[in-house]
Symmetry: C2
Subunit: 224 residues, 2 copies
DNA sequence: GTCTATAACCGGATAGAC
DNA sequence: GTCTATCCGGTTATAGAC
């Protein structure tokens, strides 16, 4: 965001606070980790933690950003290999979940906060636009490099729709108590199959009217 | 919920606190109304407000219940007249929104709390099951009494799916800033058309495989 | 001007005296 | 049943140190 000159000391303190916070978030969840504890464990004061991070949420924004970078790298590998839409779609969702897995507990406790549409951590909010757009762009790549032929009108809306679908999978994953998240991975198989079939069918001339009205609906919803 | 014998004084104080709370919620929203202010305006103490209501959320519950009863009555009228699935579906959704409209502001501020899946006010939670089942049942009536022929496997899942759709409309309505909520009513027209077309098509033999796998997905999702 | 710390404030919730 | 005093945790004000 901003890049004022920073002394070594400052940068060290800042990353110490962030690292401590992320460790505690992982270990105890979001609500259970107090700002006082973060400051304590980082060996500094509460006021100082607030000097570096204007709010508790801002610590999470930093986490979002670093996660984003990791996910991008993981997806590049998948998209270079997989060429079917289904393989690309399921592949990048699995890869992204893999990166998120160590933080499953944090995501569980985060959901309650992120579900609030007025909260800056909400995945649909203005404040997360950058991260969200980067994520949507990966689905754009997934659609763009796939073998399947898809009608142009659909292709335009697909990245956002598939990102939305992926958010649904993430939601399921957050609540998935099965060991190794097998239920989530099963759901990815089932649903990506279904969705790719739907996309293929939607491109058939027979279903053009239905596709048109569905797309019209999507467009009107986007203008909220 | 519970009906222990209550002295006149007690009942008076309790309803005074509740009435004061609901007025302030309407005037200022949920978060902006502090428990201290409620107690103050009701002419009692903070501790006493907590004696009658274990939490701020509990003040909202009676509001929920009374709304439910009003909505049921409004829907009965619609379902007695409308015979097409589309008319019944759009009709009961419009009717229910009509009942909710005077409370739009309260719903706006309430959404943030109700979106939290661990909160008792969450529409998917255990604590709202009764109200939710009553609501789903109305969609069951809407499907059951409609003229259209719908395959049995689909018919079974439809009430819950349509309730889910209606929750989406409510979400849109909460955020709808257009005067008279015209955008919401437009959305109801567009989407109920689309959904009824989808239901009709899904019952065609050609699309049986797609329908089967979609229903399989729905069933597996319900077991979360 | 860049850090760090201490002492508050605020609002939901609780304890315990009367 | 009703109150006052208090806890708790996010956040802020602010005073000083470097």
């Amino acid at each position: 965001m901003q890049k004022p000159k920073k002394s070594n000391k400052s940068e060290t303190t800042r990353s110490l606070i962030l690292a401590t916070a992320l460790r505690l978030f992982r270990e105890r969840g979001f609500e259970e980790t107090t700002m006082r504890l973060i400051a304590d464990e980082a060996g500094t004061s509460l006021g100082n933690a607030y000097y570096y991070f204007r709010s508790k949420d801002e610590l999470i924004h930093s986490f979002y950003a670093s996660l984003q970078i990791e996910q991008l790298a993981a997806c590049e590998g998948i998209l270079a290999v997989e060429k079917s839409l289904r393989g690309r779609l399921a592949g990048i969702i699995r890869a992204q979940l893999g990166i998120m897995t160590p933080y499953h507990r944090l995501f569980m406790s985060l959901f309650k906060i992120a579900a609030d549409p007025t909260n800056t951590l909400n995945p649909f909010s203005e404040d997360t636009r950058e991260v969200r757009n980067a994520s949507i762009h990966r689905f754009s790549d997934a659609v763009g490099g796939a073998n399947e032929r898809i009608t142009d009108d659909l292709k335009e809306e697909l990245p956002m729709l598939l990102w939305l679908y992926h958010m649904g999978i993430v939601l399921f994953w957050i609540y998935d108590r099965s060991s190794g998240f097998v239920r989530t991975y099963k759901l990815i198989e089932l649903s990506s199959d279904l969705i790719c079939n739907l996309i293929t069918m939607a491109s058939l001339p027979l279903l053009a009217p239905l596709r048109k009205s569905a797309l019209q609906l999507v467009v009107s919803l986007r203008e909220i």
